[in-house]
């Protein structure tokens, strides 16, 4: 632009020079203009210089930041000034009037708080806070290390991992570190800011009159084994005392217990513990449960374990057991900190005994053998259809292809072809006697210690050579790759099926959390509900490969290239999936209520009634619904209106029959039939 102007100026000059006599006035004006122009130009230049000096980059930045800040504050102000019901108006304007939350609806129906309720949170969702730490954790006293914002993961990751880990030998606190569960409802109402776990349920219960005095969150340290929560924190005693108190202060009304996820197993353990005699148990007497518990409403309960737990232990690759990965997948996958994040996570999670409570239980009888599995006729694309027409797919038989390709019984197989061929064609080389070989690590891996380094190449290859692992042999596998963890875990958990439940040995606490090795308490009036979501593909079996990298990394990883293609839609990214709630397969959540405890069986000698309530997953209709009011996903189901309604009704006094008995969408009954278990 400036060049254009200059040329123009010179041009006009030339014009005025070449023909002077024509118009004096014009010339004069011309000159004036010239001068003006020059002046303005000079001014402009000066101005430019001055402005340039002023408007340096820093100033621009300041201006920019100021601008952003102001707008931010302004918006924040508007947001704060906004009436609280504004989002609801918007939602209603877009989607039409929302249904009343179940609490409001039932309050209008006249339901009132009756039975005290107890929440038992699951693994991972409960908050943990620091009570004593090392030097590096200064200033974090009584701050949440787990739950909340996870700010410390980023600020001091190594310190964080160090504090979250437990002692490798005892499974209890390392010396000088005390991490304790947060107590009260705040322990697990929100996992992180805005990510509800129990909050929606609590809010709805409050609508019909519940409050702190008749609601109790049985928060426990979910990292340690169930019996250790009593040994270290007396958590079980505390739950017992609180239930007794609530029953006493609410006029003798029994409690309704709502365990979620691993809390289901924890509460199973509690029910045995509380009636067992004193040194090992709570000494409540054989009728404690009958006197104090009206109903146990298991939400998404992994009664028989979850296959995910295996991969979690095996290669730290499970998807949400190790939520640490979910929190920051990018960060954890890269080696940004200059250390092996994965190995750190693995080392940490392997010190958590509780993860072992969720290893698949019942062995081949439940989970299927090499050529057989209860879910074998499951059609994966049914899920898509099932949302539209549930009844049609019920009748549909699985095609031959699907049945062949999905050998769910093989929980871990090395290579896709191995996963699919018939068992007679697999050559299995026994790994159990394999020599572990010399230490791979040679101290090059610094402080990252995983037990793989003790195994050596021989051991690793032996594992891969065995090719296929079923639920039964998985335990041997884990014993082989993680001897210390399993040794610790073996003292606290058991995964078998009892032949004779009256055997003296079953009085030991390690059997208490396995429904296949314990009897339910003698409480014929109690009710057991299994509430869980269905309609989401859930991890069930894995295709593994040896990882190419040598040295410090974990030698196995899921073969994400293994895809079933059109003929076998169940296999995707190296994972075979079945129906479930994204974490727990239907089989694990429903089998005990569908068959194991149905009627008077040896696991349920007093004939406690069981009910199955399934919730078909429907994803949130739009963004405004958040995590959905009809979700069936493992954690999101806690915001499912139908489930909340069921819970509130039971808490207000209904029985299972009042609710309408079973409500089943999946093939759980068919699958249970296939499992041959002595009842």
């Amino acid at each position: 632009m400036s060049t254009l102007k200059r040329r123009k100026g010179s041009e006009t000059k030339r014009v005025s020079n070449s023909e002077p006599p024509i118009d004096k006035e014009h010339e004069k004006r011309e000159k004036e203009r010239d001068e003006k122009q020059k002046k303005s130009k000079q001014e402009g230049d000066e101005n430019k210089k001055r402005n340039l000096k002023k408007w340096s980059c820093v100033d621009s930045c300041c201006w920019f930041i100021g601008f952003i800040c102001s707008i931010w504050w302004f918006l924040l102000f508007l947001y704060n000034a906004m009436p609280a019901s504004f989002p609801q108006y918007v939602t209603e304007a877009i989607t039409g009037p929302l249904p009343d939350p179940p609490g409001v609806k039932l309050h209008k129906e006249g339901l009132k708080a009756k039975h005290p309720v107890v929440f038992v949170p699951g693994i991972v969702t409960g908050g943990l806070e620091l009570w004593e730490g090392h030097q590096c954790a200064e200033g974090l006293f009584r701050k949440r290390l787990w739950g909340g914002t996870f700010g410390e993961v980023y600020k001091r990751p190594l310190c964080w991992v160090e504090h979250m880990s437990l002692d490798n030998e005892t499974g209890l606190d390392p010396s000088g570190v005390r991490i304790r569960p947060v107590s009260g409802l705040v322990a697990a109402d929100y996992f992180a800011a805005g990510y509800f776990v129990w909050a929606v349920l609590i809010a709805n219960l409050a609508r019909i009159g519940y409050e702190e005095k008749n609601m109790y969150m049985a928060a426990y340290d979910w990292r340690i084994s169930f019996q250790n929560t009593e040994v270290r924190d007396q958590t079980l005693s505390r739950i017992k005392s609180n239930i007794e108190l609530m029953v006493a202060t609410s006029g003798g009304r029994k409690v309704v217990v709502m365990p979620h996820s691993m809390g289901v197993l924890y509460f199973l353990h509690f029910m045995k513990w509380v009636e067992a005699p004193a040194p090992m148990g709570g000494g409540g007497g054989s009728d404690w449960c009958a006197k104090h518990i009206k109903a146990v409403m298991n939400i998404g309960g992994p009664f028989l374990g979850v296959p995910k737990a295996v991969t979690g232990l095996f290669s730290a690759e499970a998807k949400d057991i190790a939520v640490a990965r979910a929190m920051a997948p990018g960060v954890l996958d890269m080696d940004v900190f200059g250390f092996q994040t994965f190995q750190h996570v693995m080392r940490m999670t392997r010190t958590w005994d509780s993860t072992m409570s969720m290893v698949p239980k019942g062995g081949d009888t439940i989970w299927g053998g090499l050529d057989w599995s209860p879910e074998e006729d499951y059609k994966c694309n049914k899920k898509i259809k099932s949302n539209d027409s549930q009844t049609v797919s019920q009748n549909g038989k699985g095609s031959a292809d699907d049945a062949k390709c999905a050998n769910y019984g093989r929980i871990i197989s090395f290579g896709k072809d191995v996963a699919e061929v018939h068992s007679s064609k697999i050559e299995m080389v026994d790994f159990r006697g394999a020599v572990k070989g010399s230490n791979l690590a040679n101290m090059t891996c610094r402080d990252v210690w995983t037990e793989y380094h003790d195994m050596g190449v021989g051991g690793i290859n032996a594992i891969a050579d065995y090719k296929v692992y079923t639920a039964g042999s998985i335990l041997d596998l884990l014993h082989f790759v993680a001897p210390k963890t399993m040794k610790r875990g073996g003292a606290h958990f058991s995964y078998g099926i009892a032949d004779n439940l009256d055997d003296q040995k079953y009085e030991h606490y390690k059997y208490w959390s396995n429904p296949l090795e314990t009897k339910l308490p003698n409480a014929p009036n109690m009710e057991i509900f299994s509430l869980y979501g269905v309609g989401i593909p859930t991890e069930r079996a894995y295709v593994y490969k040896l990882s190419p990298a040598a040295g410090c990394s974990i030698p196995f990883q899921i073969d994400t290239s293994a895809d079933g293609g059109l003929g076998c839609t169940c296999l995707k990214d190296g994972v075979f999936s079945v129906d479930g709630d994204e974490t727990v397969p239907v089989l694990s959540a429903g089998f005990m209520s569908a068959k194991g405890w149905r009627g008077k069986t040896r696991f349920n000698p007093s004939g406690i009634r069981t009910y199955i309530r399934e919730y078909n997953h429907a994803p949130p209709a739009n963004f405004l619904e958040g995590r959905g009011t009809q979700s069936g996903a493992h954690v999101d189901i806690m915001g499912n209106f139908a489930l909340i309604e069921d819970i509130i009704r039971v808490a207000a006094g209904s029985t299972g029959d009042d609710l309408g008995g079973d409500r089943v969408y999946s093939d759980i009954f068919k699958w249970s039939e296939k499992i041959k278990l002595q009842l």
Partner: protein, 685 residues
């Protein structure tokens, strides 16, 4: 878009056209002028666009300056914040004194007895469980404690939710506000303002954690028995203590109540051993079995005079913290509503306040001419305050001083006097008015609705009756109750079913099994637990409100509360009267007399209030203001709440929790005249 196109047209097309015109047909000035116009326009535009190109606005506009400044501030602030976060936790130059917990841990102390913390009035958080439509979105948010943002956002709604029902003293219909449970209930009152946090942290250092430390949070607005009726708070406390006793290897608990928590726990002691319908049914041995020691911090055993002024005119200084939180806002009327009246209305629905009225009547608090503290020398208190080392010297001179003081001794017994003279005149010149007089003067209500929705009971009283009340000039602890019955009839009627303020003649009388006597140490016997220990830990050396000079407020009746403290009444230099308030020694809220008397005399040895001879210890803590800003609220403070951060006090608590007895701590530690004062109180023991 259109304007940009026009710009381009002007810039690129017009000049060309014009110059060609200039070459060809410049004869006509008209054209020329036109051209010139165009040219100047072009210049302008080109200049403009040039600036645009270089991102140069014509000048610094105001908004740019603002943005720049804000941006600058933000950046600096962020930078400082970042630096602060990068800072190592303990700078070498900034030596933080070692916390007592760490020191005692090195000495080898470990957690032994479970600890129960009982918070006082006001300090515990309250959260909303069910509310009116105006409180939407506040479910399980703190209404009390925390940041108090709702006061500013929706003050009327907030007041409505914090009020209790005027008749029952329980929840109004449709509103449920409940105490926050757990240690978070009262660790910090507001962000950064610790209450129990420092003590908790130090206990944690010697090994305490959630399983052997319990915060007995209760709804401090309710009367004590109502916390059991509504929330089963007492049952919960009992169950927790029993549980901790069992799970910690049959170790008795150490209870640490603070402020009003002290009398709450006194109530609990009686409740737990009483038979079921009214009590907890723990049986007569319960306390002996479960409690090792009660370490009362800043105990308000015999009440605090502050409560009276709070009741009368909502003018107490920190009982009604609402005022402290936002004094300016509450005093000015910018919200166009009578804030003080609102506060008063809300406070008067809180039964618990009545538990803090002075107990023991004239026997303890003095009558028109006499009071146990009459020799108190406000000057010496100040001197001690300045140079605590000269303590001994002062006592040498005290005899001399006393003689001088007696002449114009303060008549503390007159807790309320109307007018400064009334507080100083000998009693013979004061008009007297019996309590019957009150009943007669209570006229029929000529309550008119012009006062809007702000309802205080003053509106129901006629102007004359108010003047009559003022004519009675001076009130002692006994006649005070009559005064309050007169000005706040509903509240007193409600609360007298829950609290009593007298002295028992015969403790064996069966009427004393009623719960309304349980929180008054002068009307109950301590439990039969000879091994238990009772400590009175409190601060001294701070002037504390003891009695007030009142006046009638000049404004008409609808606008305001008819009484207010006569802040113009000032005593001589160094005197005890200041701003209409007479001061004595204390911890800023509780006078020494109330905090120490029971431990110094009432329960000392085997008395009728303490039949089993429970050992009592007095541990006073001389107030020292924080030496520097870095110390925050001080490590040696004696103030009512700040004492919870007092290093010496924390050490005492830790040692007892770790198993020490009172004798091992060193027995009594006394700075004030409490023993002398107690001796002057004639009470049958």
């Amino acid at each position: 878009m259109a304007s940009i196109l026009r710009f381009r047209k002007l810039c690129y097309l017009e000049p060309v056209k014009c110059s060609s015109l200039g070459f060809g047909s410049f004869e006509t000035p008209k054209v020329d002028r036109k051209c010139e116009n165009v040219a100047s326009a072009v210049e302008e535009v080109s200049e403009k666009s040039k600036k645009k190109k270089k991102r140069q606005p014509k000048e610094w506009r105001c908004i740019d300056y603002c943005c720049w400044i804000i941006g600058y501030l933000c950046t600096t602030w962020l930078l400082l914040l970042f630096l602060y976060h990068c800072l190592p936790a303990n700078l070498p130059g900034l030596r933080v004194p070692e916390p007592p917990g760490a020191r005692l841990k090195r000495e080898g102390l470990t957690a032994l007895h479970p600890v129960v913390l009982v918070p006082g009035i006001v300090t515990g958080g309250l959260e909303l469980w069910e509310g009116r439509p105006c409180a939407e979105g506040l479910f399980r948010q703190r209404l009390w404690g925390g940041s108090f943002t709702e006061i500013f956002k929706r003050p009327l709604c907030w007041l409505e939710h914090l009020s209790l029902h005027n008749e029952t003293g329980l929840d109004p219909p449709g509103i449920r506000v409940r105490a926050v449970p757990g240690l978070v209930a009262a660790d910090y009152f507001a962000p950064g303002y610790f209450v129990w946090a420092v003590l908790i942290e130090n206990l944690a250092r010697i090994g305490y954690e959630g399983k052997n430390m319990y915060m007995a949070a209760y709804d401090w607005r309710l009367s004590f028995q109502n916390t059991e009726i509504r929330d089963q708070a007492l049952s919960k406390l009992k169950s927790k203590i029993e549980l901790m006793y069992v799970t910690n290897g049959s170790k008795k608990v150490v209870v640490v109540p603070h402020s009003m928590g002290v009398i709450y726990f006194l109530h609990f002691l009686k409740w737990v051993e009483s038979p079921p319908p009214m009590g907890g049914g723990g049986g007569p041995g319960w306390c002996a079995k479960h409690i090792k020691a009660i370490m009362n911090i800043g105990p308000a055993f015999l009440g605090v005079p502050k409560t009276v002024s709070n009741m009368l005119s909502a003018e107490a200084k920190d009982i009604a913290v609402i005022r402290a939180v936002a004094p300016g806002i509450l005093n000015s009327k910018f919200l166009r509503l009578q804030t003080l009246e609102h506060v008063m209305r809300v406070c008067r629905t809180w039964d618990s306040i009545i538990s803090l009225l002075p107990k023991g009547g004239e026997t303890v608090w003095g009558n028109l001419d006499w009071s146990p503290e009459e020799e108190h020398d406000c000057d010496s208190a100040k001197k001690m305050f300045l140079q605590p080392t000269l303590n001994e010297n002062n006592t040498n001179h005290s005899d001399e001083k006393r003689r001088f003081q007696v002449k114009e001794s303060m008549k503390y017994g007159r807790i309320i006097s109307f007018g400064k003279e009334a507080s100083e005149l000998p009693s013979s010149q004061l008009p007297t008015l019996g309590s019957e007089e009150f009943k007669r003067t209570r006229s029929s209500s000529n309550f008119d609705t012009s006062c809007g929705e702000v309802w205080t009971e003053y509106d129901e009283m006629s102007r004359e009756s108010i003047r009559k009340v003022a004519e009675n000039k001076a009130y002692t602890a006994r006649s005070l109750i009559d005064l309050l019955r007169f000005v706040a009839p509903k509240m007193m009627q409600r609360t007298e079913a829950h609290f009593s303020h007298g002295i028992a003649e015969n403790l064996g009388d069966p009427k004393y099994t009623h719960y309304k006597y349980w929180s008054n140490p002068l009307e109950t016997k301590l439990p039969d637990a000879p091994d238990m220990e009772i400590y009175c830990l409190y601060g001294v050396g701070i002037p504390t409100e003891r009695s007030y000079v009142y006046k009638l407020s000049p404004s008409d009746k609808c606008k305001s509360i008819p009484f207010q403290i006569d802040s113009s009444a000032d005593g001589s230099e160094g005197g005890c009267l200041k701003g209409g308030v007479y001061f004595v020694d204390g911890d800023e809220s509780v006078p020494v007399l109330s905090a120490g008397f029971m431990c110094a005399k009432g329960w000392r040895g085997r008395t009728r209030f303490n039949p089993s001879g429970i050992a009592t210890y007095i541990r006073e803590h001389q107030h020292k203001p924080p030496a520097s800003l870095l110390e925050g609220r001080g490590l040696e403070s004696g103030a009512h709440v700040d004492i919870l951060g007092n290093v010496a006090l924390i050490e005492d608590v830790l040692r007892v929790a770790a198993g020490a007895t009172g004798a091992e701590l060193g027995g009594d530690r006394i700075y004030s005249d409490i023993i002398k004062m107690s001796e002057r109180i004639n009470i049958r023991l």
